[in-house]
């Protein structure tokens, strides 16, 4: 397995507020990787930096062999077609139906016929566990769990290599959340995805993550599998895993 994402000495500053003070981590191909940490530690910020929505002050992030701190426009665009992002609030386009939301990238970036696009959309709708009928509905007409699935189908439509998930189970009921965990693992196996997620959900962390990084006090305090992490002595890790699981 080779690293598909490599973060080296990343420093982030918002004004005078130092958020990250030299982060180092790597994500291997094919694994489900998580960013954990107390709220406000900059987990989401790190993810936003990796997907080029936010700038970092110094350091280097390498993604699929491209260094993103001095990437050219074309290379950046090529990268964007190789990942899918699921936002915390789903960010489905409210003026389009679910099927249209999913079909958008296909229409923009491929010359496939409308018929084939429709078949691909139908397939993605099925694979995330929605009913075909749901495709005709608008985002305002479906439930929170369905929106998550629809947004996931949209993130998967271009067969991405990496899938980024920002707190995928937040706002879902426990049953839907567990279903979602199973779905993520299933999709990783089926589609050979690499999944990077920010998560607070202990059960979800336990069920899905292969490896994870714990960010606390502006640094990475631990990186590794769940077993390795829980052995490390750190006030946050002890509080988070022990008290949380009790």
């Amino acid at each position: 397995m080779q690293p598909i994402i490599r973060v080296e000495n990343v420093v982030t500053k918002f004004g005078k507020n130092l958020v990250h003070d030299g982060l180092n981590l790597h994500v291997n191909e094919g694994e489900i990787y998580g960013f954990l940490g107390p709220s406000g530690c900059g987990k989401s910020t790190l993810m936003r930096e990796i997907i080029m929505l936010e700038h970092f002050k110094s350091g280097s992030i390498e993604l699929l062999g491209e260094k993103i701190e001095k990437i050219r426009m074309r290379a950046a665009q090529r990268l964007r077609l190789q990942w899918g992002v699921l936002f915390q609030s789903n960010a489905l386009f409210t003026s389009l139906t679910v099927a249209e939301n999913i079909a958008l990238s296909l229409q923009e970036y491929t010359d496939l016929s409308a018929e084939t696009i429709k078949d691909i959309v139908a397939f993605k709708i099925d694979i995330v566990g929605l009913k075909q009928f749901d495709g005709t509905l608008y985002p305002s007409e479906i439930s929170g769990g369905m929106k998550k699935k629809a947004a996931l189908a949209r993130a998967l439509v271009m067969d991405p290599k990496i899938l980024f998930l920002d707190e995928p189970t937040s706002g879902l009921d426990p049953i839907s959340a567990r279903e979602f965990d199973t779905l993520i693992v299933k999709l990783r196996d089926l589609l050979n995805l690499t999944v990077v997620m920010v998560s607070h959900d202990l059960t979800s962390i336990h069920n899905t993550l292969d490896r994870m990084a714990v960010i606390d006090e502006k640094k990475i305090v631990a990186e590794g599998s769940l077993e390795e992490i829980t052995k490390i002595k750190s006030p946050f890790i002890e509080r988070f895993f022990n008290e949380g699981l009790r």
Partner: protein
Amino acid sequence: MARNNTLKVTVIEEAETLTYALVGTPAIQHLAKLEKKLTAVEARSDLTVVSWDLSKLEKMDTALAMLITKHNSLLEEGGCKVVFFALDSDIEKMLKMTRDHAHFNSDFEPQSESVLTLVGSDTVERIKKLGGFFAFFGQMSFVFLYSFSHLKHMRWKETVFEMYESGIKALPIIALTMFLVGVVVAYQSAAQLKIYGANIFIVDMLGISILRELAPMLAAIIVAGRSGSSYAAQIGVMKITEELDAMRTMGFDPYAFLVLPRMLALMIMMPVLIFFADISGVIGGMLIAKIDLGLSPSLFLDRFVEVVKVKHFWIGLIKGPFFALLIATIGIYRGLQVKNDTQSIGFNTTKAVVEAIFAVIICDAFFSIVFTNLGY
């Protein structure tokens, strides 16, 4: 990583057997070519066996698997046999998955309705909306009356804040615009009056037209554009983010907290704005009278006091609160009409401004008729 996403497709035909050989890595952006080839084959009916050679395919993605699966199912329906050569397990897994999850007959088009149904449902919708507007108006009147009988509960702080936001802050733009309107009207009429040597009558013309009609209308139109739209957008976003619901559950009536202060603020400020619009409009006219007609300001003002009766000023001012009521009501009503999607904010904000300006003009026409018939 795989930057050279190339997929080569070779089609070999022997007797009634067709073989596709796929070589390379597929990329969804470049699948259209393969799709065309496949469609051409689907149109034929002379084939009995189609085979796929995927041994040199480096990777399978779902879009390619989809195309292959659909192609095969179409051919098999036509009685053709489909065979795969040298299938590796990953590719087979992907193909099986697409077979399991594929739906070739899905239709995502919203169901189309007949014209009659559309007209009918639209009519019902409009009638409901009209009812909704009356309900809104009723609720508002109730809160209005209630608040005036409980002055202590009135949100004075918000009202004053809104007076500043939509009143004071609008002063410069209204004064400037009205000054320019005064200049333009004076300039055009001066050209005509000069012909008859009736220079002095410019005072009568300007005085009555500005005080009575132009200043109130212009102030109302600018306020509708500035505040009507901002009310609609503000309240619309608050509705989408469930802030209105949060207020209700906390016992803060949105009508008392949001609607009434805005309405009251605009009704208080509108006459003030009109007053300043009057002043700057007359100043603009006076400037042109001096430059173009040589009418000194003191002569202008003497004549002004003499011929422009004070009733014109009052009539202009009295329209203010009515215009303000219309603008605020329509803006807020449109804000509350926003549905749970981003597009409806734009739609309702536009509607708020257009309807407010329209309502102001209708109201003005009404006043014009009433006052004239009353002999004012």
